[in-house]
Symmetry: C2
Subunit: 76 residues, 2 copies
Amino acid sequence: MKIRIIVTLKPGVLDPQGKAIQHALGSLGFAGVADVRAGKLFEIDVADDTDDAAIDAMCRQLLANTVIENYRIERA
Amino acid sequence: MKIRIIVTLKPGVLDPQGKAIQHALGSLGFAGVADVRAGKLFEIDVADDTDDAAIDAMCRQLLANTVIENYRIERA
């Protein structure tokens, strides 16, 4: 079973990577870029009987830093 | 206008980060994790009149390494 986990910085948390990308896009000549937020995506192939609690625990223990990041679980 | 760009490694390209995560999940006691693929997510706030060609160019020139990565554009 394919699971997709999207990890993004919490609103308000400074995103230096996003800022760097935003400036780079500007210097490449792309106008009108107001904001860029960078995040992570994990596509995990797990056994079909894996329950939501286990996937949630994977996120909390390893994939996301829940102090500064939010995560969302999507079933592919 | 919010645009979401998802960048993933092309199939067949070795993903050492994904492998490391897979092993870490195993050592944390999570069974049944067959594969993990790590990718990137960019949430970009662009002007409403930004056309598809410009967004595609942003991906090709900066956000994705098209030799080893695929990218997908999603309008939020």
